[in-house]
């Protein structure tokens, strides 16, 4: 089930919300929690019920391991148990997500022809696996110990964050369910939740889906891209990804808020960043946190030699790339960011400074170029876009300029913007996108400053109704493939 579907907005959410608070009103806490878990499992299995046993099995397994970690005393036994737990989770993830990647690479290296498994990737497996690995490590460290299966189930399956995050720590979420105030319907939280949800919905179905057309056409359809079309393709994807994913995160946070649960924010105006470190502190923040706390720091972090620190950064981000997808383009993307962070470290140590605008320009364009590898389904597609971006395929201009400019050899005049199915409105959208991501306050800032008023009522009504009318084509979120 998608957040941006009528089934969710008009049926699932109101019904679950209503019954949950109804049960809590009569202090039927156990029942309300159980109902929330069952609703979340229903929400998950709406996609494909055949994979429901998988998430249930994963939950029970990790709960058992976590509980044992709380009981076991010896250091070695604990470490062994943790290792076994983490490896099991990664094995499950690896089986579904990386088997075919491994097989196709073995076939390539050894010239063999082992058949691919063609497994369907279970929805949200990357997210609930990482969330539970974080839980196991926290249990090992003694930071958390959940002894109640129902609570643990709720932690894993709570539907606002189940499918695509934010990746939540147990200690962030579960204490909120215990508090009495959480169980009482709050008009303020409902208002703020709707506000944040409406912004997220608008970002997804209006803005992201508009950019998706140009991005998809440029990456997947065109066999070559001229300069302007290549930049439209890459920038469209840069904006599509941000508005799609941050829109989803807003919706998740907004829905959770309606239930009086505060989820951690996942985006803090990343495209305003002046350096790559700042970017990773504001993009997919809960994943960055996971990578930092469970990979980078255990590897030694920056408390080791400079060379080791740099290699820790590279390894962490390479693994980050691998997490995003089973493909070499994802690994290249991860390595690019790892290298950028290494360069940033050296830059910082050298105490170099850049003009603010230039710093932003370099950061934004690096991120934009790196997204080309992230999005492309093959290196050929990535090279196609990059060749266009760096003028290797020439420029295509409108026919009205042909008379004046036809003597230049690298300029063509055939179907301006047709390669990306664009028109003059495309430039307007790109400008608006850039303005929104670099100038306007983000959703969290808007939420913090929210006060009920007529203007805000009109605003929410306008974006909610516009988004609902735009919702008819139910498009999946980009991060559903993770």
């Amino acid at each position: 089930m998608l957040f941006n579907s009528f089934t969710f907005v008009f049926f699932f959410l109101p019904i679950v919300f209503g019954i949950y608070f109804f049960l809590n009103r009569f202090r039927l806490t156990l029942l309300s929690k159980g109902f929330l878990v069952l609703s979340s499992l229903f929400f998950y299995s709406w996609w494909n019920i055949l994979y429901l046993p998988l998430i249930i099995f994963s939950m029970i397994f990790n709960f058992s391991v976590g509980r044992e970690l709380g009981r076991v005393v010896g250091f070695k036994s604990k470490k062994l148990l943790l290792t076994m737990g983490v490896i099991s989770n990664l094995a499950l993830l690896g089986y579904f997500k990386y088997s075919d990647f491994l097989i196709s690479n073995i076939n390539f290296v050894f010239d063999s022809s082992v058949s691919l498994l063609n497994l369907t990737l279970p929805l949200a497996i990357s997210f609930f696996t990482f969330q539970q690995i974080a839980y196991l490590v926290d249990s090992y460290r003694g930071e958390v110990n959940e002894v109640d299966l129902l609570n643990y189930s709720l932690f894993v399956t709570f539907f606002p964050q189940l499918i695509a995050g934010p990746i939540v720590h147990h200690s962030e979420m579960m204490p909120q369910f215990v508090r009495h105030r959480t169980k009482v319907l709050s008009s303020k939280n409902v208002t703020l939740g709707i506000f944040v949800f409406a912004i997220g919905l608008f970002k997804k179905v209006v803005i992201a889906d508009t950019f998706a057309v140009w991005a998809s056409t440029g990456f997947d359809v065109a066999d070559k891209l001229y300069f302007i079309e290549a930049w439209i393709t890459s920038l469209s994807y840069t904006f599509q990804l941000y508005f799609d994913f941050s829109g989803y995160a807003d919706m998740a946070i907004g829905i959770a808020l309606m239930f009086n649960i505060r989820l951690p924010i996942n985006f803090n105006s990343p495209y305003k960043s002046l350096d790559i470190q700042q970017f990773w502190r504001s993009w997919h923040m809960t994943l960055s946190r996971f990578l930092r706390d469970y990979i980078y720091i255990p590897l030694g972090g920056n408390r080791t030699s400079e060379l080791k620190t740099q290699s820790n950064l590279l390894i962490t981000f390479m693994l980050g790339g691998v997490w995003h997808g089973a493909g070499w383009t994802f690994i290249v993307w991860g390595v690019m960011h790892g290298l950028a962070l290494v360069v940033h470290r050296v830059w910082q140590k050298g105490k170099f400074r850049l003009n603010k605008f230039f710093a932003w320009f370099v950061t934004f364009n690096f991120v934009n170029i790196a997204w080309v590898f992230f999005r492309a389904t093959s290196f050929d597609d990535a090279i196609k876009v990059l060749r266009g971006m760096f003028l290797l395929e020439g420029i295509n201009l409108p026919r009205v300029l042909e008379e004046r400019l036809s003597h230049y050899p690298f300029i063509e005049f055939s179907g301006f913007l047709s390669q990306v199915k664009g028109d003059m409105a495309t430039f307007v959208w790109l400008f608006v996108g850039l303005f929104v991501v670099t100038v306007l306050p983000n959703t969290e800032k808007l939420r913090e400053s929210f006060k009920p008023s007529v203007i805000r009522l009109v605003f929410i009504f306008a974006i909610l109704t516009y988004a609902m009318m735009s919702m008819n084509k139910s498009t999946e979120f980009l991060y559903f493939n993770f």
Partner: protein
């Protein structure tokens, strides 16, 4: 304002928004996007005019069907390369003129989509005759069909006559083209509000200022829906008229003649069938017509033909003058089975 009051007002206004959407959708807009399997035309969708809807169900009662390419098809009589007309997008009974052709003249006909490649139809045909599929199929005829409004764009282009199959990548003969599928709509959609807006605006302007569909009056009853005196047509029927110039029509003619010569070298006859734009066909019957008139067919007739030219405007104008109604669907840019049955008579001289 308290948060509680805010929520109450929001719920109230949302309910106020949802109710008219529900009403308009169920009473009017849903007819333009029927979900009972019937077809409503593209012009009805553009104009939100449910009064021009000519509801029809798709069926293929003709006993001989045309086919699409599979790996086990051997020789074929005719290959058709065309656009939405050749993909039966008008809908209704016998929506494929190829079926009618196949039935009447006992021909094995293959509808072939040449996608990708050079995105130039003539170059794609030149590539096709270099493929193993061509060797297997060995058609006697290749029929190029194109709507009139795009014919100049498609056939007046520069052609690389020496194009080699080794140079071109991605010529895809087996993939079906992605036709725009009308998405399933829920009752909350922009269409409801466009419906209301257009009901007003069509009273003041032939295309309601913003619509892709023009709605004008006819001087006689040429359709069987409503008064039969309403003509709807696509805005590009007018927009592309100026593309027919002496130079562009000559280029079309030269290219098609050259292609015909090249096809004859491999034993294939070329048939070119531009399907007359709906506006062009009925232009003489439009009341107080101040719009430009197309001269595409008139100019093309004056050129020389090394290929077989199916003059759909001449054929259909003749039928109109004999009082034949519904040659095109009232609500669609495509001709009806009545129109296509009239047109295929003209193939008789070819296949006697």
């Amino acid at each position: 304002m308290t948060y509680k009051k805010f929520n109450q007002y929001l719920a109230f206004f949302l309910a106020l928004f949802l109710m008219p959407n529900f009403a308009i959708w169920n009473l009017f807009t849903s007819k333009i996007l029927p979900e009972d399997g019937s077809v409503a035309g593209d012009l009805a969708r553009f104009s939100y005019r449910e009064d021009i809807i000519q509801s029809r169900m798709n069926s293929r009662p003709a006993s001989n069907f045309h086919t699409t390419l599979t790996k086990d098809i051997s020789s074929i009589d005719m290959i058709v390369v065309g656009d939405s007309f050749s993909r039966g997008r008008g809908g209704g009974v016998n929506r494929y003129y190829q079926d009618l052709l196949s039935n009447k003249y006992k021909l094995d006909i293959l509808n072939l989509q040449m996608l990708g490649g050079k995105n130039n139809i003539i170059e794609n045909v030149l590539l096709f005759i270099q493929t193993s599929e061509f060797e297997r199929l060995r058609p006697k005829y290749i029929l190029l069909q194109s709507v009139e409004r795009y014919a100049v764009t498609r056939f007046a282009r520069e052609v690389d006559w020496d194009i080699s199959i080794n140079d071109a990548k991605g010529l895809n003969l087996f993939e079906s083209p992605h036709d725009d599928v009308v998405p399933s709509q829920t009752f909350i959609n922009f269409g409801n509000w466009k419906f209301l807006l257009y009901q007003i605006l069509y009273r003041f302007d032939d295309n309601a200022y913003f619509s892709d569909a023009y709605i004008v009056d006819l001087n006689e009853q040429l359709f069987s829906i409503g008064t039969g005196r309403i003509l709807s047509f696509y805005f590009e029927d007018l927009k592309n008229i100026e593309k027919s110039t002496d130079v562009s029509i000559k280029n079309v003619s030269d290219n098609l003649n050259m292609l015909s010569d090249r096809l004859r070298e491999v034993g294939v006859e070329l048939i070119f069938m531009p399907t007359v734009d709906k506006y062009n066909l009925y232009a003489n019957n439009v009341v107080g017509n101040n719009y430009k008139k197309s001269r595409f067919f008139e100019m093309l007739r004056e050129t020389s033909f090394d290929y077989h030219f199916i003059d759909t405007k001449k054929i259909l104008r003749s039928a109109l003058s004999e009082g034949v109604k519904d040659l095109y669907f009232t609500d669609d840019t495509h001709w009806s089975n009545i129109g296509s049955e009239v047109v295929i008579q003209d193939f008789g001289c070819l296949f006697k």
